[in-house]
Symmetry: C2
Subunit: 200 residues, 2 copies
């Protein structure tokens, strides 16, 4: 049951995030102060920090939450880790369910804000760091440690590159459909490169 308490909390949380995103989009991440956001969202500063641990998290929440290690761990028997990941991104590219459900403008605004701020880009980068280690741990079950670490590093780096290109298309004005079509091709290229190596 969704009690009044929980509804209100969710509501407050969303209000803060929306206000923050709007202000960031208007004036840039660095030029907006936490106090301004709190004031505009009509909460105390300390309350804001109870919902969002850092200024960055106001924008980065929900970004890079994919569980690469989980995808590999849950793959059907007989499928290689790389095939499992390729299948996952293929599916994501051709049928971006999650994306379509969210407000498109908000998503694009979010991407633009992230791209425009080095602090946020770097923060988004960090989020993949944990994924990489988790993925390396899963891959270490069937490879030696160094190979697993290298594979994980290459895979996460490639995924990050794909994300960046997808978002860049959006930021540069492409529609969600156009960006999705690009992504479909890009995924295949990326995984082919991972699979067959750099010298063809």
């Amino acid at each position: 049951m969704a009690g009044l308490r929980e509804r209100k909390k969710e509501q407050t949380r969303r209000r803060i995030a929306e206000v923050a995103l709007r202000l960031f989009a208007e004036r840039g991440f660095d030029a907006v102060t936490i106090n301004e956001i709190a004031e505009a969202a009509e909460v105390a500063k300390v309350t804001l920090f109870k919902y969002f641990p850092t200024k960055e998290s106001l924008v980065l929440q929900g970004v890079g939450e994919e569980d690469l290690a989980g995808i590999v761990a849950a793959r059907p028997p007989g499928q290689s880790p790389l095939e499992a990941l390729r299948a996952h991104y293929r599916a994501f590219a051709t049928e971006p369910v999650v994306v379509a459900a969210v407000d498109r403008d908000a998503l694009i605004t979010q991407m633009r804000v992230i791209f425009d701020s080095p602090a946020l880009s770097s923060g988004a980068n960090d989020l993949l760091y944990g994924q990489r280690q988790a993925l390396a741990r899963v891959l270490a079950e069937e490879h030696d440690e160094l190979t697993a670490a290298l594979m994980a590093a290459q895979i996460t780096a490639s995924v990050l590159t794909l994300q960046e290109r997808f978002f860049r298309h959006l930021v540069d004005g492409a529609s969600l459909e156009e960006a999705g079509r690009h992504l479909v091709e890009d995924v295949e290229l990326a995984f082919d490169l991972l699979r067959h190596g750099i010298n063809h």
Copy 2:
């Protein structure tokens, strides 16, 4: 000619860095305050920040200064980018000239401090970000943009993994020679993987 002015500057700079590294090693990066460092190094806070732009830079200076893009751009004709980079790291691993010149204990302490602090690890990570883009730009001369970006991402991620393992060996107590021997093998494995891909 090295005037008194320049000598004093260099001296102050080194004193600050040494004091900072010692305090960080003793009590951890986060637990040491900029004011403490300034006080212990007998300079004003504002002076410290004239030498080092951020707290992180007190430890990260000199880390990740390799110029991947430059190595590729300067390679002899007929050599592939990957071969050029492999040759560079092979040479570095078998004959760590730079490393041998520096105080070993200080280097190892530095690595330990970096590894023990998420903020510093993430900062070291960021330093490779610029390298990656520069490398992608160079590679884009002979590949399409996506391929160049993916190659650069995979290469820098692999290099970072190699660095991490090298440093981890040192931090775990291996001698410089032992760590170097490991590195020699690791370099070959890493570049073979890059060259031939993940599925053999």
